[in-house]
């Protein structure tokens, strides 16, 4: 730990030190979990538009076959983790705090695990930048740290902004989780290789891998793997939450802040997770898409905490059964880490690409308890990594003034949960901010709808007016025609009469 690190550590004012609970799983190697009887593959496992299915129910699919294709710029494909039959395409429970169902493919494995023909690549480092991004996209890789942003889209950022540095996030600051730690210890070569490939795609000259100091084995392993590559360096990070947040990582490792509302690429930095790097290396070298991921199964209630490599689509219930079930009353099942993860409404939801952990927490672990009045102790402000004043924002939101909370920086909140973790009054601060962000988004949606409705109304009244005008014109025309016809008829009649008179002047009535 150098002098520069010491200074940087001293200057860090923010963050909390939650009990890590890492020892539950950190010494358990990643084991492969056998395939379950059924896989549920949601079409939206990433940020962006849901993928569009390209297979039909009843169809037999092979391992690695593309089941759904990306739609639009920001989207990602879904592949079959094994061979089997598509049983259904419909709405199934997905990991989401609402407990709502969403579109998903159901795959019944046939046990043959028959693969499609993959295209391995001997030397991916010779590929063009665009080709690397294309293959990453084809492999359906998304950010595995939990943000699930399509990795290829992020690799394209180098085109718009000059990116000089790729940061690999090996912080894994969330308590309990150790799958990134295990990945770095077990596959350091893949991590470094993937990082170098991504740096190539981005046009970045340097790769910095940041790893929290509480993972000395991972630091050593990755340092060894990086030793042959001068552009790759490993930096130890102070142990505190949320060190692994992109903005904090960028500020700590580069000394530059990401501008509010902007992307890190604007300051020449792109951040990827170490797990994503390992997958990128694998996808490029073997040609096999992303269909499995490593995750941590932990919590005091689980019988056998473990790190597992599971097929995407495996249900949480299957995973818990595989780990020997629970041995105590479970207060909450959480997907992801306890600080930012989501409470699962049930265990019949599948693991998705962004699932970094499945936690079975007892009530002692989960904290909770009813909220009391804010005593303005400002601990929340002290721990906020962004420099917000959560108590003040929550007070405004409680008073029904979400827009006033925006003035205090609501939109800069990264939702790390440090404030709520440390609040002695147990005020659900993060919940308030999600609520306010949601209602602001809803207000924005309704404003947009309002505007479009206004246009529709205007179009309708214009149409009605036009129709009325046309009707009137038509009527006028018809009337004119009628009258003209009448006149003509009259004239004709008169003419005829005259004729007749001329012809038969002798006739009289």
């Amino acid at each position: 730990m150098g002098f520069r690190d010491l200074i940087a550590d001293f200057k860090l004012q923010w963050g909390v030190h939650p009990d890590g609970h890492k020892s539950l799983t950190s010494e358990r190697p990643i084991e492969s979990m056998p395939l379950p009887e059924r896989l549920v593959l949601p079409l939206a496992q990433h940020i962006g538009a849901p993928a569009r299915p390209v297979v039909a129910p009843g169809e037999r699919v092979l391992r690695g076959q593309r089941l759904a294709e990306p739609v639009g710029m920001v989207s990602s494909a879904v592949h079959a983790p094994t061979s089997g039959r598509i049983a259904d395409i419909g709405d199934y429970p997905v990991p989401h705090p609402s407990g709502l169902a969403a579109a998903a493919l159901v795959l019944l494995p046939d046990g043959l695990d028959e693969p499609v023909a993959f295209e391995p690549c001997e030397d991916p480092h010779s590929l063009e930048a665009d080709e690397i991004a294309r293959r990453v996209a084809a492999g359906g890789v998304v950010g595995l740290g939990g943000a699930t942003f399509p990795a290829a889209v992020k690799l394209g950022l180098g085109k718009r902004n000059p990116v000089h540095t790729l940061l690999l996030n090996g912080g894994e600051c969330e308590p309990y989780l150790s799958c990134d730690d295990r990945t770095m210890r077990e596959r350091p070569q893949a991590v470094v290789d993937g990082a170098r490939l991504m740096a190539r795609a981005l046009g970045a000259q340097a790769v910095v891998i940041g790893i929290e100091r509480n993972k000395p084995a991972a630091i050593a392993a990755v340092q060894l793997a990086a030793s042959g590559h001068p552009e790759v360096s490993v930096r130890a990070l102070p142990v505190r939450y949320p060190m692994g947040s992109e903005k904090q990582l960028v500020a700590y490792l580069t000394g530059v802040e990401v501008p509010a509302g902007g992307l890190s690429a604007e300051v020449g930095v792109v951040v990827h997770n170490v797990g994503t790097a390992a997958e990128v290396s694998r996808v490029l070298r073997t040609g096999e898409p992303l269909t499995h991921r490593a995750l941590t199964v932990s919590g005091a209630a689980i019988s056998r905490p473990a790190n597992l490599r599971v097929a995407i689509g495996t249900s949480v219930a299957d995973i818990i059964a595989h780990c020997g079930g629970v041995r105590r009353d479970v207060a909450r099942y959480v997907m992801g880490g306890p600080m930012m993860g989501m409470l699962l409404p049930g265990t019949d939801v599948p693991v998705v690409k962004g699932s970094s952990g499945v936690l079975s927490l007892t009530s002692e672990e989960a904290g909770g308890g009813s909220a009391s009045a804010c005593i303005r102790c400002a601990r929340c402000a002290g721990v906020c990594p962004i420099g917000l004043q959560p108590f003040e924002m929550a007070a405004r939101i409680r008073a029904g003034r979400a827009e006033a909370a925006v003035d205090l920086g609501l939109k800069d909140c990264i939702g790390c949960g440090s404030c709520a973790y440390t609040c002695p009054a147990k005020i659900p601060l993060s919940h308030y901010f999600s609520y306010a962000k949601g209602s602001l988004a809803a207000a924005e949606r309704s404003r947009l709808k309002n505007e479009s409705i206004k246009k529709l109304t205007a179009a309708r009244s214009e149409r009605l007016a036009r129709e009325a005008r046309e009707k009137a014109e038509a009527a006028a025309r018809r009337k004119a025609e009628r009258e003209a016809a009448k006149r003509r008829a009259a004239e004709a009649a008169a003419g005829e009469a005259a004729e007749e008179r001329r012809e038969v002047p002798q006739v009289s009535a």
Binding site: A251, V258, A260, M339, L343, R376, P385, G409, G415, K426
Partner: protein, 351 residues
């Protein structure tokens, strides 16, 4: 379907009640020392103040429909009463305690919306209201009459004294150092004469002189305050700033004109500076939320107390200084808001 619960699914285990209990624990040594020094009247007074504060809290919670007796367990009412008791003349009659508790809990706290909503420190509002309303009773100080020494009344006598507000025997009345020098100065006796005439015990920090419980045992208060800082219940910023704001001008003025300005040592140990710096000014609800703000706030409180003690009509100015600065807290908070990450960006590299 279960109702969605938002992350985080973990908590550091702290609670409001725990915060209050730690503060009470820190107050315990000086309170016991005060009980010893001023005897049974002080014990009864403390009991009545704390008890009536809790009673008023209960009544206010009931009336406003904000909750029942369980809320009492957070200890905030008891703590407000406790702090108030430490600032009263130890032999005050019962109704001083009850009216003080009423003002602290019903007016200064619940009229503003209860715990966390009050802009002014309840104990200080109560003390100032009492001081202005009942200047006679609030300046009736007694010299220490320690328990078991036979100088003070026993438990029963003390209770009678408390309930029937019998006058304090002349032999026991005394003045605080700050009060003494103020009166002397008003008849033209300067500090060089008036400080020695008060006695040597004025500023040894042990408190064997007249004053409220919170004005005596300064060392014990300091120890309690350091305990709170070590347990991270309060930050170091406010106490340090308060003491600096008080001592620096005191030292300068004393150096220039020792005949008319007390030394920093007297300012620190003769009045309520320690209690104020560690237990009053640090009140979470009524102090600023930012580090810069807390430093400013503390400095201003210290400086204002020095100004009031030195130039105003009242011998002790801490309560007034705290209330004045309480009123400034929203402005301080507003102008010392921390910079939000990514705003007003620092383009230059930090390290």
């Amino acid at each position: 379907m279960t109702t969605p619960v938002h992350a985080p699914h973990a908590h550091d285990g702290g609670s409001v009640g725990r915060v209050m209990r730690l503060v009470m624990l820190a107050l315990l040594p000086v309170t016991l020392w005060g009980f010893y020094l001023f005897g049974w009247p002080a014990i009864w007074l403390w009991l009545i103040t704390v008890g009536s504060a809790m009673l008023f809290e209960l009544v206010c919670l009931r009336v406003s429909g904000r909750g029942g007796p369980t809320i009492l367990r957070d200890g905030s009412a008891a703590l407000a009463g406790w702090l108030l008791a430490l600032t009263l003349p130890p032999w005050s009659p019962w109704w001083i305690a009850v009216i003080g508790s009423f003002v602290a809990i019903c007016i200064a706290k619940h009229a503003y919306g209860g715990l966390g909503q009050n802009p002014f420190n309840p104990a200080m509002v109560a003390r100032v209201a009492l001081l202005i309303s009942f200047p006679l009773e609030m300046t009736q100080w007694v010299a220490p009459a320690p328990l078991f020494s036979g100088t003070g009344p026993d438990a029963i006598e003390a209770l009678e004294r408390l309930l029937f507000s019998s006058p304090i025997p002349d032999a026991l009345t005394s003045a605080t150092l700050l009060g003494h020098v103020k009166t002397e100065a008003s008849r033209g006796v300067d500090l060089l004469a008036s400080v020695p005439s008060f006695g040597a015990a004025a500023a040894d920090g042990i408190g064997r002189h007249a004053g409220s419980i919170g004005e005596t045992g300064s060392w014990l208060i300091l120890a309690g305050g350091l305990f709170l800082i070590s347990r991270r219940v309060i930050g170091w910023h406010v106490p340090v700033a308060v003491l600096a704001g008080l001592c620096v001008p005191a030292m300068l003025a004393h150096g220039l004109d020792p005949a008319h300005h007390l030394s920093a040592r007297h300012h620190l140990f003769a009045g309520a500076a320690m209690l104020g710096a560690f237990f009053i000014a640090t009140d979470l609800v009524t102090s600023p939320a930012t580090v810069t703000g807390r430093l400013l706030y503390g400095l201003a409180i210290g400086f204002l107390s020095w100004v009031i003690r030195s130039f105003a009509g009242f011998p002790e100015g801490f309560a007034f200084a705290v209330l004045l600065m309480n009123a400034c807290v929203p402005i301080i908070d507003r102008f010392t808001r921390p910079r939000i990450y990514g705003h007003g960006a620092t383009d230059g590299r930090a390290a």
